[in-house]
Every structure is written in C-alpha cells, then in structure tokens.
C-alpha cells in the first residue's frame, strides 16, 4: 500500500499488513516532526506524480532486496511537533534485506517524490525546507 493523505498514519496496522509466514524480519521507519524551535510543519505534495513515484520506488525495492511486502504512507497538511510525517515498512525473509529495503525507499523517496515541507515558526510565517532532491 502506498498512500498520501491528511490522516494520522497507523504504523501498527502497516506492520500487521506486511507480516508473512515466509518473512522473518520486519523493519519500519517513522519520520516525525522534530522540535527545532518550530511550531509545526506544513507538508505539500504534487499528489498523483508523488504516488506514482512512490509506487515505482516500492517496486524497485521489492525486487532489488527480495522483499515479501512493503508499504509507504506520507502525510500532507499541517502537522504539529511530534506528529508522524512518513512511515515505511518492509518485510523480508532475512534482516539484511528488510533493513536495506527500508533505507532504499526512504532515500529514494526524499530524492525523487514531489513533496515539500515548510517549517512553521512562531512569527506566523515559516520557510520552505531547502530540498536536495531533483
């Protein structure tokens, strides 16, 4: 499952969904809004291209690392400090593949999915996080 939405991410349900009898390892990554003296964050997506790119990345990870399952969920909209931004969950027969797959999806998503984050500061303004992805 690939999703982009405003609702709270249910990491627990994602983990339950990727569990398989033939998988011995499940690795998950949860990205949250870190308190850097900000009030929160605003996440924006170019939704359909972002979903396609995330699905392409998921498929690459599945075949490259022989994953048994993988899910990615990215939130958009206004998020408070501590809230979830992104969750990635991968299952595989062995731990190496599950770790590598999760890391791969995370790095590729940052580089390739059309998503942006604005840090909301106390002065009712904010600034867009400088992107590195192209």
């Amino acid at each position: 499952m690939i999703e982009i939405g405003e609702e709270e991410i249910s990491l627990d349900r994602m983990i339950q969904r990727v569990r398989r009898n033939e998988a011995g390892a499940v690795v998950s990554f949860l990205g949250t809004v870190r308190d850097d003296g900000i009030l929160g964050m605003e996440v924006e997506a170019f939704r359909d291209p972002a979903l396609s790119e995330m699905e392409a990345i998921r498929q690459e990870a599945m075949s490259r690392f022989s994953l048994t399952a993988a899910e990615v969920s990215h939130r958009t909209g206004r998020l408070a400090v501590g809230e979830s931004i992104l969750a990635i969950v991968c299952s595989a027969a062995h731990r190496e593949e599950a770790f590598s797959g999760c890391r791969y999806i995370l790095e590729e998503l940052k580089a390739r999915a059309p998503l942006w984050k604005k840090e909301i500061s106390s002065d009712s303004g904010g600034h867009w996080v400088e992107g590195h992805g192209r």
């Binding site: 291209p49 990215h74 940052k110 999915a113 059309p114 998503l115 992107g131 992805g133 192209r134």
Partner: protein
C-alpha cells in the same frame, strides 16, 4: 490557447497553487515562463538569474513528466497542456 499552471512550495506562494494562462498558439515553455514573469510580481526574480537564465532550483514538469530546463524550454505547448513548477524536492 489555455495552459494550466500548477506551482508548489515557494512557487505556490508566488504564482498561486493553480492558474490558467492564455497564450498564443505555438507558444513554448519559455514563452509561458516569460508571460508568468510579466504578469506575476516577484516571479521573475524568483525564477530567473539577473542574466535571464532560469535558476538552478527551478524544476518543471509538462503533463506530469519532468522536462530538462537546459534542453526543453523551446518545447511547443498545445491547448490543455499542464506545466508544473517547483523547487528541489524535500519530502520524507
């Protein structure tokens, strides 16, 4: 002809998230960017170097496919095309 323009992140603040621009037939991507620069305050400074070259951090899609600003600015648009303009990606 009418071209839809989508803008994200800082460019959304300047251009608005979505707008339609009326252009002559046979207009190119570069013509569209010039038109935006002439009608939207602040867009020229945000998107172009003082020399007139498109800034490095301006990324473009036509009909949801990335185009190369070095090569594809001369691409001719047709009625119903959609241009998306945004800074480097910063999700995750």
């Amino acid at each position: 002809m009418k071209i839809k323009v989508l803008a994200f992140a800082a460019f959304g603040g300047i251009l608005g998230r979505e707008r339609e621009v009326e252009l002559e037939e046979e207009a190119s991507v570069k013509d569209l960017l010039d038109e935006l620069a002439s009608i939207v305050p602040g867009f020229r400074e945000a998107a172009f170097e003082p020399s007139g070259i498109l800034r490095d951090y301006v990324l473009l899609m036509v009909n949801r496919k990335r185009i190369d600003p070095e090569r594809d600015l001369s691409r001719i648009l047709v009625e119903g095309d959609e241009l998306a303009i945004f800074p480097p990606l910063a999700g995750g």
